[in-house]
Subunit: 179 residues, 2 copies
DNA sequence: ACCTGAACACCGTTCAAGT
DNA sequence: ACCTGAACACCGTTCAAGT
């Protein structure tokens, strides 16, 4: 295991266990038993460490979404992953993506399943992606009232987009059948 | 104008002009021609200043959304306000809300119009709110590809929710009419 | 090749002291 | 009542020096 990997591992551990405030170069160095300036022999700076964590998060998220068979599955998998790795999700979603330091394809892999399930309509895929992100973001930030039924909001979202999908696929919409 | 108001004004100016990194207690004090520790005679801490800015933002956003006549209007007003005040939006949406320091009603006022236009269905209102937030959040974070048609994504979102609304209102949905 | 100590330019905040 | 200077416990980062 390279020294860089050790550093990123320690960063992930600190982030997930103690929150973003704990991920400082000095704390990180202490975790490896060295001094802070020594880190710069293995990493160009803190941004690089963040980029590495963003890449790990996107790769894991992509893997979690991959098996989804429909929008409901996808929504569920998205929410579950985010709730399991809230700090990692926040780091990846709320902060600027260090795109130049991401391996090619990592970003699109995460959205591939989504685009596929949106019938190839990129605009709808983006709206859905944003909606899922928004729901997770608001939930993680504790923006919903105390007893709010977050799952019901997800259901409402999936319902809205499912119906549109049905429509544009030309499928029969049960709500359209007249008795 | 109270000293507190002067401080918050300076904070808003710094935030909007130079970004969140510029809003430090030392910089803020310099802006008022005093030393940093003196600020603590007028404010309990930096969190209080942030809470004050969040309150201003929510109040302004609520006012911007108030005249919206339909979902399309609302979506447009939401996006426009966020793009006009990106730093303020980020401060309010991405960081924990200092709820205990917000005047009562400020938060619900911002969402009142949304709930009204969702036909009173809170779950749909939350999904829509989250979707709007997500679209703005991703746009501000430059998460969409270079030439992405963000407006088209908004249109897709409004379309999805408009149709559901039509349905549940029992109105005739034009796409359901058979020739 | 890897690490250290000292330093630089910053943070938010506390506190005794001054007017 | 309002402000200051010095201090505390932190940041990310640089750099000459050591092994």
């Amino acid at each position: 295991m390279s020294r860089l990997e050790e550093i990123v591992d320690a960063a992930q551990r600190l982030l997930e266990d103690e929150g973003p405030g704990a991920v400082s170069m000095r704390r990180l160095a202490a975790e490896l038993g060295i001094q802070a300036p020594s880190l710069y022999k293995h990493v160009d700076g803190k941004d690089r460490i963040e980029a590495e964590l963003q890449e790990r998060a996107l790769t894991e998220l992509a893997a979690a979404l991959q098996p989804a068979a429909d929008l409901r599955d996808l929504a569920h998998a998205y929410r579950q992953w985010a709730l399991l790795h809230p700090r990692l999700y926040e780091l990846t979603a709320r902060r600027p993506l260090h795109r130049d330091q991401l391996r090619d394809g990592v970003e699109t892999a995460a959205s591939a399943r989504l685009v596929a399930l949106s019938g190839g309509d990129v605009d709808r895929a983006r709206a859905l992606w944003a909606a899922a992100h928004g729901l997770v973001d608001l939930e993680l930030a504790h923006r919903f009232p105390e007893g709010a039924d977050v799952q019901a909001a997800w259901d409402a979202l999936v319902a809205a987009f499912d119906r549109v999908a049905d429509r544009e696929d030309g499928e029969l919409d049960p709500l359209c059948r007249q008795p």
